[in-house]
Amino acid sequence: MIPNFYGGRISGTVLVNGKNASETPTNEMSETVGMVFQDPENQLISNEVEREIAFGMENLCFSKELMRKRIEEALDAVNITRLRNRTTSELSGGQKQKVAIASALATHPDILLLDEPTSELDPRSAESVLNVIEKINDELGLTILLVEHRLERVIHHVDRMLMIDHGRLIYDGSPRKIKSAHFEDWKVGLPPVTRLSLHFQNRLSNGLPLTVKEARTALSDVLINPKNKISWERVKSSGKVCLSMDKVYFSYDHEKDVLKNISFDVYEGDMIALMGKNASGKTTLVKLMNGLVKPRKGKVLLFGKKIGDYELSDLIKKVGIVFQDPNLHLFNDTVEEEVAFVLRNLEMKDELIDKKVEKILKQFKIHQYRKSYPHDLSGGERQRVALASVLVSEPEMLILDEPTRGMDYFLKKELISYLKEKAKTVIMVTHDIETAAEFAERVVLVSEGNIISDGNKRDVLSKALLFSPQINRLVQPYAKYGIPDDTLTVGELLKVIG
């Protein structure tokens, strides 16, 4: 769609409805191809929903009557009629994304392109955006091309899947016909139930199951005959308190409390997944833990001392925090400098800095880029630079704010194994239920500023409607055959059914 925008060289031709896409200006292509981007923040142009939807049509000089009709249609197709007069900046991420879809639809393109449209959304909003997309495809017969690396979210919606690896097309076909041999190289996450099913391919008659329900039918004869009797051990928190919050309240505007009456202890060695919907107060909660914001009421003690009494240099030796967007961290000229930055702030000696930097760059497999400019690296590499640049100071407690966003399956796996090996106490803010199930021992659910559930992951994530991993939902009906009903991951289930 945008060959004219970035330059570069193209050989071969791209034909869209008979038009050569590389030779047609992008704004002319807009009549045939609609596009929705990743970040809802960066694609809304007007202040009002109706006007936003009209924007594309205004550019193409549609008449007023036609616009009125199309806006009605588009609002209805995406099911946001009630938002029509709202200001766009007030909307939630999911709502913004739906407005973007409606705006793309209004000009009646033949093809709708979506570039990771749900990557900024929590699972609930993502699901509802994807349902809207499926409905459009269903009812309007629009061709939809969706770019996504988190297959587990979208795979059951699609008819055809194209897989690109290192610039080559390596798979083109129904997602149900994947052969296991290829998939390990693809570096994308299949849904856990599909990954599980790949181990039992000879028993599948209707192709790979893509949803929990399909997997239940497809794998029922495996699931009713578990080979091993296992009950999962629950790792207890150590008795040593790192951080304790006592009846903490927080508010940004002195009017509405974002956090209400939070009492919460972090113990040494804890692996905590902090979960909740967007804007539930998760990020604020972790900001309290390293003193970025101060509570309105209540106490935050870090290793027995009030967090406000720490010098900044001591504080960052205790708590390291990695924010979700690596671009917020990176500003030095080289990766090496970037990683050394925090150590220089701590006024360490140069030789010691060099040694530590060298070591961590190797650990994170970014040593070969040590002289590169951080912004030239790929998203995953940048994320690792950001992680390394915090971990290098070896904080007692590590906080990660949605570190797996934008990471593919293998990077996630690497990150988790690294954390389990190297980090002492970790709090990970995440939407990603599967990552939480793999990584954490303790799960804390936050909703509207309250902690609504806090305990061992097997208790919190089992049989919870919104927050259960797929495997857990899969095994529930088979508990009576001897599969533990608190099984959470593919690896665990494979141990049980052999």
């Binding site: 925008f5 992008t26 009002e48 970025l292 900044l312 708590v319 924010f323 917020l328 925090v342 915090v390």
Partner: protein, 311 residues
Amino acid sequence: MNIMLELVYKRKRSIFHDASPFLKITWLVSILLISMIFEHPVILSVLFISSLFAALSSNVFKDWLSVMRLVLFFVPFVILFNMIVNANGETVLWQLPFMIPIFGILNITLEELLFSLTMCIRLAAILGAFALMNLTTDPDELLIAVTKLKLPYRSVVVSSLSTKFVPVLFSDLNNIRDAQRSRGVDFSKGGLRKRIKKYGAVFFPLLSKSLDRSVQIAEAMETRGFGRYEKRSFYKDAKLSASDILLIAVAVAPFLIALYMAFSGIGSFRFYQRIDPLIKSSSEAFFIIVMLASEIFLLPLLKLKGVMAYD
């Protein structure tokens, strides 16, 4: 920092919010032109007072006031600047006890001081009018109005987008500051050089983030056909009603009065060498009062239009 956030349009209702964008443009331009024609402190005060009253009756007074605080911040600079570059005036208030090469002996004279203060009133009048315009006008409506006036719409889109992204920019800024603080950048410590370096840790990520954003926005606009044709159509139109035309005439009136005054030599004001009296003649006083009255007269008319919502 909060000043910038407050300068952003928020959807509300008031006589100025509801007024036609054409009217507001006329009002703003008329105040701008008058403030450029005259250096008369009373006339400039009249302009300032009229945007003050407009802000008072438009439900944005607090935001407007916080923008106007900027002017106070400028006062010492304007005075200092005048003291250095200007050597006029005969009533010396204070003399610098030593010579400065090139500039010579620096005097503060009463005339200089009053001139500086008058320039501050001019600044306040202009800024006040702009602030009120910004606070009460939806950028989308402004876009329509400007396009109707046959000005190039692309430049307006750019400026309306930039106001829309101010809050986003500030939330980016806060996030970056938090991130860098967590890496041990202590913004409250160190000398000037060190601090400047520390702010680099905020500035460069912010710059790269904003550049990323702007490219993405450009992409998004391009894919939606922006700039496809020379003309655009409009979903919501800005139509001029008869009452709007009447109101625009009222908003132009002060400017016409000003023109008349300028051509008949009324309202000129000299600061040097000796400052003029504030009011030199009764005709000057008369015209200034008429100007003030016609500026203020606009407000009840706007209110009246709001009451008679049908027209």
